[in-house]
Amino acid sequence: MYHLLWLIPALPFAGAFVLIVFGPRMADAAVKIIGPGTIALSAILSILMMGQFLTAPPPDHVYVENLWSWMNVAGFHPHVSLYLDALSMLMTLVVCFVAFLIHWYSTEFMEGDEGYSRFFAYMNLFVASMLILLLGANLLLLFLGWEGVGLCSYLLIGFWYTDPVNGRAARKAFIVTRVGDTAFIIGLFLLFTHLGTLNIQELMRRAVQEWPVGSLLPVAAGFLLLGGAVGKSAQLPLQTWLPDAMAGPTPTSALIHAATMVTAGVYLIARTHVLFTLAPAAMLAVAIVGAATLILAGFSALTQEDIKRILAYSTISQIGYMFLALGVGAWSAAIFHFMSHAFFKALLFLGAGIVINACHHEHSIFRMGGLRKQLPVTFWTFLIAGCALAGLPVITAGFYSKGLIIFDTEASAHGSMTLWVLAVVGVLLTSLYTFRMIFVAFFGDAKTAVGHKPRSAMKIPCIVLAVLSICGGFVETPRFLGDSHFFTGFLHSALPGVVLGTNPAMAELASELWVTLAFVVGLVVAYFLYIRNRSAVEALARPAVSRALHSFWHSDWAMDWLYDCVFVRPVMWFARVDKSDFVDSFYDGVAYLSESFYRGLRTTENGRIRWYAAGIVAGSLIFVAIVLFL
């Protein structure tokens, strides 16, 4: 069974290839089969493989498949090999499965679009790249997937390329993540030059042997990898691309946010966690980035009107939780939250897509309203996903995964009370913006007549995800609620458990109660402000200070403005001023020289045969002279 591993990334890739080459001439019905079909096969394979992994795990819980080696030069011989352990197995399963549901949904969502086959070609390539990223055994292959994901996000965000705004958003996503990628590449070079390999496991072994904890090199490497992760996962300070990335078709957003792309950074850190344990400073930085991001993005989400932008900020904030978990060494808690987040965030986006379609491409939640009765299935599934996002206690997956992170934040040896407080405040914010969105969009009076109603291909994936958003959490529960540790137990062979601090300030139960309290406060405040008493919101918004705060948060803490002032404008200004500097003249000189050489040499090609023969004679004479006299 395991030897079929290569098929998991190969199938979507083959699908993408077929769609790119033959797509334009294919009937939509055939595209519908090839696009989601190949993902479905990968998903089935990964489910079967997961089954085998649970019942008959490979030796040491690791399966390595060496496919071939690319080249072999001076000790640099990157193998194209796949690495399957509990971590990559789990993430592969979630990615394939969620991606399949999103593909299925897209078959209906994208109906009638001019670029139907192009869309599925990109989506398949996206999934294939993500799977290579997950399964690559060395950092080079991981980087290939990493870049492939970046490329596909660019293509998909700018999918409707005739509108220049979308093209701009695509470029922004590409350039901003590129900043992180640069750090990542430098990190790769650093690791390779100092440890002499790019194979991840070998790299980790050598790092432990050669580098003492807290020495300069692992810290530098950790920070560089963190730079890459921050870019891809849209964390502070490179989060600005993600809200604009909403320009793409909604299923794309679901794929970017739930299954692929933004979780790549989380995976990278989890994969190289050994390196981070050697670098406490880098780990602390991860935790701080996560905590700061989750708070800042939470405030930003509070002020958005566009339903997709609210979800975008919530993604940034939830990935912040994962980073926080990674930063305190709660590796499997981060992956747990990745999984539950994949379910409910995909569902939220799919629901948002239905809502937007139903409201004639209206994005603002304040022009929706009353959708509860008109789109019942969507409402209920969206509500379930929202509850999971906000962390409705006991029944939803989000509660368990987030609760575990928050408890570990305080209890871990790397954790602290401050981080814990920030995480709990984050829960309050999450609950507040989530229910604001739900109450405004689905309750109250209907403001627009519902146009397009979803059919089964759009509804069934939502229902499946809704079930998972609830059941997905029961695999790992706290001590007072069943005490199940199936999830961390499964990951234990790949990710060590969290190292608890010596004297925890509170019990797990207390932490969970605080989380519950924060959830309830958020819910109640949202209820009073957006259902009972709308005028209170207006009153709250009226003073100048709150208007200023609103626009400040609405613009994502003015980050775009800041970057515009600090980077974009000075660079543009300098480019303008420096347009005619001496550097060009060098290249112009090269061009001019080559051109004159060309003109000179061209005269030798005059088409006269006597001249050609003379060339041969002269050449021989010269060479005879050389061999005789030199």
Binding site: S69, M71, S594, Y598, L601, T604, Y612, A613, I616, I622
Partner: protein
Amino acid sequence: MSATGWFTLLPLFILGGASIAVMIAVAIRRSHALAVGLTLIGLALAFASLWVVAPETPRQVTALLIVDSYALFYMGLVIASTFAIVLLSHAYFERHEGNPEELYVLLLVAALGSAVLVASSNFISFFLGLEILSIALYALNAYLHTRRFPLEAGIKYLILAASSAAFLLFGMALIYAELGTMDFARIREMLTASPGASQVILLAGSALIITGFGFKLALVPFHLWTPDIYQGAPAPVAAFVATVSKGAMFALLLRYFYWSGSHHFGAVFLVFTVIAIASMVAGNILAMMQSNVKRVLAYSSIAHMGYVLVAFQAGGRLAVEAVTFYLVAYFITTIGAFGVVTMLSNSEREADEIADYRGLFWRRPVLASVFTAMLLSLAGIPVTAGFVAKFYVIDAGASSAIWLLVFVLIVSSVFGLYYYLRIVVAMYSGLHEEAAAPSSSLLPALSAGGGFVLAVLTILLVWVGVYPATLLQIIHSTVGRAL
């Protein structure tokens, strides 16, 4: 001479027999399809016979020929390339007036000559093979004899090849006069055994032999004929001149200089260094602003032969393998590139102006993509065979520390990128001018055989680029073992 000795020449007999069979068939019944069919069968049989004779190798057959795994590998390359070119020729000459059937006789004879060259171990077989090849090529170049350019190409090639052959013969004569042998391996023995031999005459002889090689390989300064011939010859014939004739010659060059030990003369090494540098620089610069695609390919082939010389200069087993790998990649891409030109040419003229390719992607996306892949491979962009090939050449050069050559290779490749990309850019531009394109008549339908060749070549191109291990393994176990 034992029976099995002759038996190992089976591939040569089949090639020769096939050419006679096609000739008789043409005399009985003129049919393009019949001639092509017989030719393809002959080539396929010859190719299959390589495996039949492989267990008997290495074997010296008479004093003239040696059939070893090196010769068999290159024979395979020659036969496979001829196979592809025959398919392309079928597509090309289907659209042309006149009788195309004799072309295949000539192609088979030329392939026979090339096969003799790669198996030569003696000056006599060297010259015989060369002449069999050249005489077939004179006629092939001028095959469309009612047109001006092919006729001019044929005459030019005839005169220049004959004069360079004179230099070659004189060089051989000088060496024979001094050492009394024409056998490559014996030359080496004699060089060490008789230190009293006149260095002057031996070196002058080597220099003149280099002239002969230089002409066929189109190395600077013996390259002047190349663009005119490429431009004038029918596109499939140009592909043959660019690949089979040069590849066979290079295989012989390796064998001659390594076996005879002449490569170790400092002066010969110096001459090759000068030639390699001049070829890389001049070839790439001359191609830069060309507006004729076939001339661009001609100049680029000059530069490519310069690159291969860099690997040749490195010496040793690694060099033999790098040269062979490069030649295989070069064969794939060059036949592919000429294949696209062939597919686009119509019965009136060759599709050889860059203007003909403007906006090609919007009209013929598949063909344009194939051509793009071929050009990128010629430029040495990763994921294509050309990249890996160039990489191994540089690796061979670097491991022998011939830094000057490696440096020139890298710098001149930059020029290469420029002119290849010029064609690529032309293909993808001009969506809106498409309607007004003067070349819209240049769109004959893709024939099945030609399409098959291009598809196979493209797959090979990417396969070798991504997964070079198989080819390396084959080269390592055949070519690498023999020299």
